[in-house]
Amino acid sequence: MARNYKIFLVDDDIKTLIMLKNHLEKRIAHHITVNVFAYGENCLDRLDEEPDIIVLDYYLNAIKEDALSGTDILKQIVELRPQARVVMMSGQDDMETALETVRNGAYDYIIKNEKAMQRLEFLVNKIVLEIQKAEGVV
């Protein structure tokens, strides 16, 4: 049976979560499970479920002021589950910071605009292919 790929989406905007989840579930041809989180902390709690891909918003403190930022979460993921590919999302205005996160171990980043969903779709397919190669499936 084909492998199932686990994707965690972390964003404090519920609309974005819904849209991204819907998009991925409809467009990705592989078996995927998408879990969504409004707080990075919850995502960290469930790293033992071994997500393959984690999509992480750079700002996570719009709802809860003291929530950990995307960068903090990234650091912990890199430490706790280095196998997971972390895709950072950020607005146009914090692109510099987003690049910085790539230097800090993020797999890639997405600028939040109209093309974000297509780009995420592309990245997920790319990562799945990489995993398949690494696992000798392809």
């Binding site: 905007d13 519920i14 819904i18 819907n22 709802i63 002021e65």
Partner: protein
């Protein structure tokens, strides 16, 4: 007696032998140890003698051994070493730093300045290592003299070259000054900046460069306190007295004894940058306020037209009552004044709609000839009144049907012809249409409007297309008008990708030339929905039962009273809103509904939807009455199931024609068929619709992303309806609390809301709010921006609610 003695002797002998053996073993051991130590020392000496580096072996912080190179390096005698401490080998002014490096440096070496016994200083690298020595851990310290180190030398040369180059080529002014402030060295950029020659500048006091002496005192104080100052904003002055805005970064120069010997610094001229910054800020502000004004006006359109509707309508009614000659004159006065006012208002609203980017062009097939002839008809009487001649000539080669916006072309030509007539007292006005260039798909048409009027002065020709300009003030008083006509005309032409030019001579006349390109329409699709102005029917409408749905009482009176005059057998029912209308439609059979679009409770669209879908009355004609006279609104009324529309304030003749047409048993007017058969596919239609005023939202992106999943769309709409008001309220709250960090965060998050709702106009605004909060800038106008966001979001939520209601009804 002998025996005991002998025994004792024997015992002692044995004792002696044992001790001797023990001693021998110990001696051997001692020899071994000494040998080892000796070997070690020999090895050390051999090693260290061969080395050029000074080597010291320390034990318990005491110098135990040194090599010859060490003595040579420091000019020291081998027997002087016992009292020496390692730290004494470092030059006193560097001891502190060296100790710090030795303790905190992770590497096993560091570089510093060492001192010989005669006081000479030299750069050295000091390496440390712990080694076993004589059975104990000892520390080896190796001193390397870097004076002749090639690497250091090269680095020095290179860095000197580099600094020289930097100094010479820097675009910022660089200076070195003495302790008294006299300039010792300046780079070419400094000479250029201040306009002095090198000779003038060297030795000159830096004080001379300050526009304000107190400024220098303040700067010097800061220097003394901190030792260095960076990005200090100050006004300096050139040789010729010009003041320049600069930022100044400076550090103190010190000698080996750490005494201040002067200063060095960099000066950057930010005059230009400052001015640009200010201009950019002012420009952004001006542009924002312009768009906001335009938006306000466009939004006011409904509010302004509604009372005008009442005034004009009531005047029409009044004219039909029994009036005395005097009263008649007054009423006619009111009528012409209110019609004039309506023209002005339309001008202003049109202009603001264009400015706000809310004017949408139509793309339909129409006849160029007919547009031109209609204009000729319109001005026939006016021209006769002024005893002028109106000459119209149309090129025979002109294609008959083209695709474009007939309303806007009419508006353009009407404007130009009406100007020509207005400013001409004698002679003629000509309207020519010529085929310019022509290919299979498209034709470029040149329209010329020429008069023999007062003409325009040469220096005014360039500005006549500017907003709010009339050739002269007295002309404004004489001829009236907003001065917006030509500005609107030009914008309309440019929106259609055309151009306009003007030639004029004072006293001889003016010619306007408009060039527009139209795609040719294929012959079969020729449709004409314009009613000829001469075609005025006055026969009674017959037995009809109508329902007027209108929330405004005055408009209700105008509409019903106007219609009642067109036949004794017309029965009119009234509904004040959509809900009431639906109730009445359930009970009675109507021949026609006149439906206001904007109403409380159920609006016109919702009511129509309900009547068509739920009540299944698909044949019942519905005529929309809208105060938004835009093509977009027209389209929306049709796509939402109404048969036709009329804009308020309405022309009674047009209303008559529409009612007559809709209630006759003949097939429905062509315009509807065209719009229905050529209706774009669903997604595209939504797109079109929402870009058109008065829609503020554009759900095209959402729709596209969702891909027709209605359930998901309902969910998203519900979330947006729930979250948006909260988010706006949060922005207001954080603004009130001056909690800029939170305001920034909420504004940031709000961006996704803006993009899902397709609120293009708010993107920039929300960005500005976020940036202002982040930089703590322009906080006073930020409040207005939040207010704008709130207003637009109120509209947006209404639209989302409508969308949601429609979706839920369909499911």
């Amino acid at each position: 007696m002998l025996t005991p003695l002998a025994a004792e002797l024997e015992y002692l002998k044995e004792e002696y032998n044992l001790l001797k053996q023990e001693n021998e073993t110990l001696y051997k051991q001692m020899i071994e140890v000494e040998k080892e130590a000796l070997e070690c020392e020999i090895r050390f000496n051999q090693l260290s003698k061969a080395s050029f580096e000074g080597v010291v072996i320390l034990k318990d912080d005491q110098i135990k051994l040194v090599n010859d190179a060490f003595c040579h390096l420091f000019g020291i005698n081998k027997n002087q070493i016992s009292n020496l401490r390692i730290i004494d080998l470092v030059a006193p002014e560097h001891q502190k730093e060296a100790l710090y490096q030795a303790e905190h440096n992770n590497k096993d070496w560091f570089e510093t300045i060492c001192i010989k016994t005669d006081g000479t200083r030299f750069p050295a690298r000091i390496r440390r290592k712990f080694v076993p020595h004589g059975g104990v851990e000892a520390m080896v310290v190796v001193f390397s003299d870097l004076t002749n180190d090639k690497r250091v030398e090269q680095e020095l040369i290179q860095s000197e070259l580099l600094y020289q180059k930097l100094f010479e080529e820097s675009r910022d002014a660089i200076y070195i000054s003495g302790i008294n402030g006299a300039l010792l060295e300046v780079n070419p950029a400094a000479l250029e900046l201040f306009g002095y020659t090198r000779d003038e500048m060297l030795g000159m006091s830096a004080l001379k460069l300050y526009a304000n002496p107190q400024e220098r005192e303040r700067f010097q104080k800061a220097m003394q306190e901190k030792g260095s100052v960076s990005n200090y904003e100050v006004i300096l002055v050139k040789k010729d007295g010009t003041e320049i805005d600069c930022i100044l970064s400076s550090t103190t120069r010190r000698n080996a004894q750490m005494q201040t010997i002067g200063y060095q610094g960099i000066i950057r001229d930010i005059t230009e940058r400052k001015r640009t910054d200010e201009l950019v800020r002012a420009k952004a502000l001006a542009e924002r306020s312009t768009t906001m004004k335009a938006q306000f006006l466009a939004n006011m359109s409904h509010e302004i037209r509604t009372p005008m509707n009442a005034v004009i309508g009531m005047t029409h009614l009044l004219q039909d009552t029994h009036l005395t000659a005097e009263q008649n004159r007054y009423v006619n006065g009111i009528q012409s004044a209110s019609e004039h006012l309506l023209v002005l208002i339309n001008d202003i609203l049109d202009f603001s709609k264009i400015e706000a980017g809310k004017l949408q062009l139509e793309e339909i097939a129409f006849s160029l000839r007919e547009v031109i002839n209609n204009i000729a008809d319109t001005f026939k009487y006016k021209v006769q009144e002024k005893k002028l001649e109106l000459l119209v000539s149309i090129d025979e080669q002109l294609p008959d049907m083209v695709i474009g916006d007939p309303t806007r072309l009419t508006q353009i030509l009407m404007n130009l012809v009406s100007n020509a007539v207005k400013f001409t007292e004698r002679g003629q006005v000509r309207l020519d249409a010529r085929l310019f260039t022509d290919d299979k798909q498209a034709a470029t048409v040149a329209f010329a409007v020429a008069d023999t009027g007062i003409g325009i002065e040469q220096d005014k020709v360039d500005v006549i297309f500017d907003s709010f300009s009339q050739v002269n003030r007295s002309a404004t008083r004489l001829y009236g008008g907003t001065g917006l006509g030509l500005a609107i005309t030009k914008k309309l032409i440019e929106m259609q990708g055309g151009s306009v030019s003007v030639k004029s001579k004072v006293g001889e006349g003016t010619t306007f030339l408009v060039v527009l390109r139209y795609v040719k329409a294929s012959g079969s699709k020729t449709v004409n929905h314009k009613y000829s102005l001469s075609e005025m029917a006055v026969k009674p409408l017959g037995k009809l039962r109508l329902l007027v749905v209108e929330d405004n009482e005055l408009n209700r009176v105008v509409t019903t009273d106007t219609i009642k005059k067109w036949g004794k057998d017309i029965m009119i029912d009234i509904a004040e809103n959509g809900e009431e209308a639906v109730k009445k439609v359930r009970k009675h059979r109507y021949d026609l509904i006149l439906m206001d679009v904007q109403m409380p409770k159920m609006n016109g669209y919702e009511a129509t939807h309900y009547i068509r879908k739920t009540l299944g009355k698909t044949d019942l004609p519905i005529l929309a009455m809208t105060a938004y006279a835009t093509t977009g609104e027209a389209e929306r009324t049709i796509t939402s199931g109404m048969n036709d529309y009329i804009s308020k304030p309405f022309d009674p003749k047009k209303l008559y024609q529409k009612i007559a047409r809709l209630t006759s048993k003949e097939p429905v007017v062509l315009i509807d068929n065209v719009l229905e058969s050529e209706a774009p596919p669903e997604a595209e239609k939504r797109n079109l619709k929402s870009e058109i005023y008065p829609h503020v939202t554009n759900l095209a992106f959402l729709d596209e992303s969702i891909g027709g999943d209605d359930e998901l769309k309902v969910k998203m709409l519900e979330i947006m309806l729930r979250e948006t008001p909260d988010e706006v309220a949060q922005m207001e709250k954080f603004y009130q609390e001056k909690n800029w960090d939170r305001l920034r965060a909420v504004a940031h998050k709000f961006k996704s809301t803006v993009s899902y709702m397709g609120l293009q106009g708010l993107k920039e605004v929300i960005n500005n709010i976020q940036q202002n909060a982040e930089k703590r800038e322009n906080l006073d106008i930020t409040q207005n921006m939040i207010a704008e966001v709130k207003n637009i979001c109120l509209l947006a939520c209404q639209e989302l609610q409508e969308e949601l209601t429609t979706l839920q009804q369909n499911r």
